[in-house]
Subunit: 122 residues, 2 copies
């Protein structure tokens, strides 16, 4: 498929796909005229990339860990694997942070609800 279809199916912009390729996250085969072509499998790869971006990984970091995804059967560099584990842990810490933030907001919500119920009984 060409870039527009991949963009639609993966739910990202064409611009983003070109950017991913520029960052070494995505590879395309080129038609004689230079147009990018992709296989069906790239859809989920793009979705994984999006998920990692959403989890706060940078392009550079994603590029660093993708080898472990692409060829787990080969022994990838220790740095790549270590980075992978490290990012997993960073995400865990981020989740904890978000849970605390949510708790803080929950308390604010509760207090406000209480006052609202009081001010507008029924």
């Amino acid at each position: 498929m060409r870039i527009g279809e991949l963009a639609t199916r993966a739910g990202v912009s064409v611009r983003s796909l070109r950017y991913y390729e520029e960052q070494g996250l995505l590879i395309s085969t080129r038609s004689p005229s230079g147009q990018r072509h992709y296989t069906d499998g790239e859809v989920e790869r793009v979705q994984l990339i999006q998920r990692l971006y959403a989890a706060g990984l940078s392009s550079r970091t994603i590029a660093e860990v993708l080898p472990c995804v692409d060829s787990p059967s080969e022994r990838n560099s220790d740095e790549a694997f270590e980075r992978l584990v490290q990012e997993r842990d960073r995400i865990s810490r981020h989740i904890d942070e978000l849970l605390r933030a949510r708790d803080a907001l929950d308390r604010v919500v509760d207090v406000n609800r209480a006052h609202r119920a009081q001010l507008t009984p029924r």
Copy 2:
């Protein structure tokens, strides 16, 4: 206390504190010469602000919900309260997203560990 001490105690930069004030998140009393002065209570306010930033709220959004924090006893505008709840839900969705991302990385980690164990037995 002056701005430097607040910065140290809250763990942020002086620049950030001035920015928070510019965004209407923080108020300071000024000495005759124009220097900012804060009370001890501002320390936790700054920490809350930091926590909300870390949870992905923008300055504008934080400014929007802070009234509910400052005076839950008054009936704040419905928009403010609604925004509060809305952000809480956004954080919940973000947490779910991070959990999925972590699961994905966990699977990659496991597969890689398996191959590593195999390649370097013991």
